[in-house]
């Protein structure tokens, strides 16, 4: 028993391997309910306070869907406009006030560390739904779930993380967790957007072998999973340089000719040009399923924290 009830989920690093495995197994059981094929009243009478200080379509809607599928309710706001925040209220005060209105708080905030601060000012469990460029543990959990569900395991799988590995927060948390769970990692990025040294250090400490590459063509043959992220234009002072780099990390049918038959291509979405539309029709396209997986994974987490899923 890992004791999820009433617990905060602020960073993926707060969760042990056993915790993560429990979330994945619980999420699997939630799928029929998430699809509307079965009904549940597990969280009837429970209220989730969703404080979204910045817009986030997928995360907010999937939390709302997760809560509704389990018979609970959600209140909150989806932007700081028109709230007491605009009058200069501190986050600490908002949290102390909101504590009285629900059973758990889910927080999306533009500043790093906001969720940890929030957790210090309430006894109610706080779930971090993204704090600036910091942590987004429910995204990591749904990424892990997708790999586990597609492949049947995580340990020993060859996972290649592709794109902006320097600034992308999803790939940082995912790399940490995958190293803890024993996946083989390959980091594919332009030379200026390589994985930060502290993450490479962590992977090494876990005794996990990893590879670094600047060329997608070099890794596509070996990969079981390609986790693709967007390379942002703002990272390049020269627009021509951006076009050149972005073009060389594009997934299309030609590239996939070399790939394993069961290669799964993932993307946290929204995508721009990193994955060609023609890939959507292939067996490799896993990104829309990945987006759906946000619902059962968040259901699992909410049920473990608020209900009696354990």
């Amino acid at each position: 028993m890992s004791g999820f009830r009433g617990r905060d989920v602020l960073s993926i690093r707060d969760l042990s391997r056993a915790d993560i495995e429990l979330v994945l197994r619980t999420a699997k059981k939630m799928v029929p309910i998430a699809l509307g094929k079965r009904r549940s009243r597990a969280l009837e009478g429970k209220i989730l306070s969703a404080l979204f200080y910045e817009p986030s379509t997928r995360t907010r809607l999937s939390f709302e869907s997760a809560m509704a599928r389990l018979g609970g309710r959600v209140l909150g706001f989806s932007s700081a406009d028109g709230t007491s925040v605009q009058k200069g209220e501190t986050l600490a005060d908002t949290i102390r006030m909101v504590e009285a209105y629900g059973d758990a708080i889910v927080l999306r905030h533009p500043q790093e560390g906001a969720a940890r601060l929030a957790a210090e000012f309430t006894e109610k469990p706080v779930i971090n739904a993204g704090d600036g460029a910091g942590q987004h543990p429910t995204q990591t959990l749904l990424d892990l779930y997708t790999i586990w569900d597609e492949k049947g395991r995580i340990e020993g799988e060859n996972v290649a993380l592709v794109g902006d590995l320097k600034y992308g927060r999803t790939v940082h948390s995912l790399a940490y967790a995958l190293a803890d769970l024993g996946a083989h990692l390959t980091f594919v990025s332009p030379p200026t957007l390589e994985m930060p040294p502290e993450i490479l250090e962590h992977v090494k400490e876990r005794g996990i072998s990893y590879r670094m590459s600047h060329r997608l063509e070099d890794v596509v043959r070996e990969a079981d999973v390609l986790y693709v992220t967007r390379i942002q234009k703002e990272r390049f002072p020269d627009p021509q340089e951006y076009e050149k780099v972005a073009g060389s990390y594009r997934i299309d049918s030609a590239l996939l000719r070399e790939a394993k038959r069961d290669l799964a291509i993932m993307h946290p979405l929204p995508r721009v040009t990193e994955i060609a539309a023609e890939v959507d029709r292939t067996r490799h396209a896993t990104y829309f399923k990945q987006a759906f997986n946000g619902v059962p994974v968040r259901m699992a987490l909410l049920d473990l924290i608020l209900g009696g899923a354990e």
Binding site: S11, T90, L91, A92, H109, P110, Q111, E112, G113, A114, R116, L117, E120, D131, G132, A133, G134, Q135, E198
Partner: protein, 151 residues
């Protein structure tokens, strides 16, 4: 014969065994600038049996608070703090680096929640003492230039 380079003080604090070259940083931590009422004596690059070379700072008529001692520990982990009362060493303390540095460092990340108007103190987890490495409890980023971010 031992040469006395720095005269004894009646009341105050002697910070000894500061790594050579760090004395001016200690002065910065103690907020010693132009408007100090008492005498401050600094000895730099003094021979030391234990350390080879060391710096010493003496501040008259002032005893240090726990926070100040924690700050000194960040840049001079070998230092000893002697409290002098009536020419005698009333207390002798080795500075110790705490496991958590609370309220003594500012996070370098401008987008960290600890840098906005919230009712909290900054807090860093000491990940390694030698070399000193600290990580912000809130944004989880490692602080690069520690000395420049002492509050």
């Amino acid at each position: 014969m031992k040469e006395i380079r720095v005269t004894p003080i009646r009341n105050g604090t002697v910070i000894d065994h500061i790594p050579a070259g760090m004395a001016l940083k200690v002065l910065k931590i103690l907020g010693i600038g132009d408007s100090v009422a008492s005498t401050v004596t600094v000895a730099m690059h003094v021979p030391s049996q234990a350390m080879g070379w060391k710096d010493i700072v003496k501040v008259e008529d002032r005893e240090l608070g726990a926070r100040e001692i924690d700050k000194i520990a960040l840049i001079a982990p070998t230092a000893t703090v002697n409290v002098i009362r009536n020419y005698n060493v009333a207390e002798k303390r080795r500075v110790t680096l705490p496991d958590r540095a609370v309220g003594i460092l500012r996070c370098a990340n401008p987008n960290c929640i600890s840098n906005v108007r919230e009712p909290i103190e900054s807090e860093f987890v000491v990940r390694s003492k030698s070399p000193l490495r600290v990580v912000c409890k809130y944004c989880e980023r490692e602080l690069e230039d520690i000395v420049a971010h002492i509050l």
